[in-house]
């Protein structure tokens, strides 16, 4: 999926210190992620591949994307059989794949756990990921401030069978709890796809002739949601997105749609993961840190992108 005609891999923004960039011994990195049929997930794979390309001493082995835990655990087995040096795993479900991670670690393969966290620290060497709960919190707080603590809000969630959806909603609700004047009056799950985004949003708009703000968990389904808004000819509220897609950021920049902000969940984390994998494989540390060892966990920050700071984040956006 990595093609030349796409803009330089976002990870290229801050080139790593030369000390580590000097090619070392060859490292085979195994990568297993969910199916890349969705903007953000696709960006994860793309970034990983792009980053690997930038390092002559890294060979990347990507397993079939799968959203089925059983399948994915089997695929991780395959990568173990393949005796890769380091394993980067974005599990379909963190808890479900913990045994798989354990297996790899037991087999002496350091595992870098991307985003959806494993159940036990024994299942991974380092965790790199975003913070779904905080994503919700930031969205909630931003909306709270914009509404000056008064009004009604809606929530357009993702897939309700995924734990991350629960965490985002939890964070959102907890944040809103700080604003007694704000009530959440509606919520719908839009399955992360564009058409369902349009459908659920259209229904929400019909259900709520008047409300002040809505948080949409995911900019991909947001494409559909924003269409629904235009089709309904509504503009009497503010919308906050999630993840940070290119389209979303551009609209924020133009500022002529209801979308006023989006809460980052940067897919660049996969690029970072590849870098750390390489360093692990070559037994190097992160030079900017005092420690000899690579830290056990790295949490990306879910910044709120608005008109003011959008230019800074556009490069890390995904299509």
């Amino acid at each position: 999926a990595c093609t030349s005609n796409e803009e330089p891999a976002p990870a290229a923004q801050n080139a790593p210190a030369p000390a580590q960039d000097t090619p070392g011994k060859k490292v085979t990195v195994g990568f297993a992620g969910p199916q890349a049929d969705h903007g953000w997930l696709n960006a994860i794979t793309v970034n990983a591949r792009a980053e690997a390309q930038r390092h002559p001493d890294v060979e990347l082995v990507v397993a079939e994307g799968s959203n089925d835990a059983a399948t994915q655990s089997a695929q991780i087995d395959a990568l173990i059989n393949r005796k890769v040096d380091v394993l980067v795993v974005l599990p379909a479900d963190g808890k479900q794949l913990t045994p798989a991670g354990r297996k790899a670690m037991d087999a002496g393969i350091p595992v870098i756990n991307l985003d959806r966290i494993f159940d036990s620290p024994q299942a991974y060497r380092t965790w790199v990921g975003g913070d779904n709960y905080r994503m919700g919190v930031n969205a909630g707080n931003y909306i709270g401030q914009q509404l000056k603590g008064q009004g009604t809000v809606l929530e357009l969630a993702g897939i309700d069978t995924l734990e991350l959806t629960r965490q985002r909603t939890q964070g959102f609700d907890d944040a809103l709890a700080n604003y007694p004047g704000i009530r959440k009056v509606g919520r719908a799950a839009a399955e992360f796809t564009v058409p369902t985004g349009q459908a659920r949003m259209a229904e929400l708009l019909q259900a709520h002739p008047q409300f002040n703000a809505i948080w949409n968990h995911d900019d991909d389904q947001g494409v559909g949601a924003l269409q629904a808004v235009r089709q309904a000819g509504r503009s009497d509220f503010l919308m906050v997105g999630g993840a940070g897609s290119k389209a979303a950021m551009e609209q924020i920049k133009d500022g002529n749609s209801v979308l006023k902000a989006t809460v980052l969940y940067p897919p660049t984390m996969s690029a970072s993961a590849i870098r750390l994998a390489r360093l692990l494989g070559q037994a190097k540390g992160v030079s900017d840190l005092a420690e000899q060892e690579i830290p056990a966990s790295v949490t990306t920050f879910s910044a709120v992108v608005t008109k003011d700071n959008v230019d800074k984040y556009l490069p890390v956006s995904f299509e």
């Binding site: 696709n42 002739p209 991909d220 299509e319």
Partner: protein, 336 residues
């Protein structure tokens, strides 16, 4: 199977006619009940033209696909590829190179891709003699794969120069308050009904689904006809893709996810036999409306997903039982 054929007494009107009408009447009843529930639970919002327009709009895309699916299933086949074909068609029609040709380019590509996929499935099944299930399953996988390949997993939006297409979805292009999408749906449904009930093609579709051997002995070119059924389904997918582009102003490989299940469910609950040979288009359309109404109802009442799913299951069962009441004869058959 054909227990109900063990000689039945004459009635004033034809068995089939009565049965079908009865079934559809049942579905209308189900719809009525749903509306009633809506009115009771959401007095303010539900009973508005807004809701009506919403339901019809949401029904339109899957509705068009269901029309094609009805033909295929009555003809004794099944088409699992509709969702994937929609994905591929929307993606292909929204690539930069396609959009360069303007709106005609988009529409043409979408329809062409749909018809093309339908043709391939049709050839595989009719002449390659693959089981319909397998043939269209293969098409499903391939089409999705191609869609992902083409879009690189990106969400391709309609460019400003083709904005006019997307504008069709906006209120100011409604005709007498009816969204163009709904009009397209209506047109497709009516044409479909005429073809199915008033042309030799339609009647032969029943024959092929009902008794392939008899159809063959009657000198019907069953292979060609079977093939055409899938082309027809593909055509509907193409049209539906254009509608989806209008609705979402974009094309992605994730589009049309599980449409096949929705469409088949609508057809079956509309009283068409999965074994082919019997069924009505009116029933299928009603089936689509029932399902969309349910989902709108749920969101309006702000039900949590879990409850929605549970309720959906129960409603499906009740819906069929209501139909049963209305059409006593279907009993034997459906038990198989």
């Amino acid at each position: 199977m054909n227990a109900e054929q063990a000689v039945a007494p004459e009635r004033t009107r034809g068995f089939s006619v009565r049965l079908r009408e009865a079934r559809n009447l049942g579905l209308v009843g189900v719809l009525a009940v749903l509306v009633l529930i809506g009115a009771l639970t959401e007095p303010g919002q539900f009973l508005t033209t807004g809701t009506l327009v919403l339901v019809l709009t949401q029904a339109s895309v899957i509705g068009v696909i269901t029309v094609g699916m009805t033909f295929v299933i009555i003809g004794g086949g099944i088409d699992l590829s509709v969702g994937a074909v929609v994905a591929l068609a929307t993606v292909w029609a929204t690539t930069r190179s396609t959009q360069a040709f303007g709106i005609t380019g988009i529409v043409f590509t979408a329809v062409a891709v749909g018809v093309g996929c339908g043709l391939v499935s049709g050839l595989l099944i009719a002449y390659g003699r693959l089981v319909a299930f397998i043939g269209t399953l293969a098409m499903l996988a391939s089409a999705r794969g191609l869609a992902i390949q083409l879009s690189q997993g990106r969400t391709q939006t309609v460019t400003a120069k083709n904005q006019a297409l997307v504008d069709l979805g906006y209120q100011d292009s409604y005709v007498l308050g009816i969204p163009p999408l709904v009009l397209i749906f209506a047109a497709v449904a009516i044409v479909g009904w005429l073809v199915l009930n008033r042309t030799t093609f339609g009647r032969r579709t029943y024959a092929i689904g009902g008794n392939l051997e008899a159809a063959r002995l009657a000198g019907i070119n069953v292979k060609l006809h079977t093939c055409l059924l899938y082309v027809l389904s593909g055509l509907c997918c193409g049209i539906a893709s254009v509608m989806l582009i209008i609705l979402t102003s974009s094309g992605t490989s994730g589009n049309g996810n599980l449409y096949e299940l929705d469409a088949i469910a609508a057809v079956i609950i509309g009283g068409t036999l999965l074994t082919g040979g019997r069924g009505t288009l009116v029933g299928s359309v009603l089936g689509v409306l029932v399902f969309t109404t349910i989902s709108v109802l749920f969101t309006l009442n702000n039900l949590p997903t879990a409850v929605q799913q549970l309720a959906k299951g129960v409603i499906i069962v009740l819906a069929v039982l209501v139909q049963r009441r209305a059409s006593l004869y279907s009993s034997e058959r459906t038990s198989s």
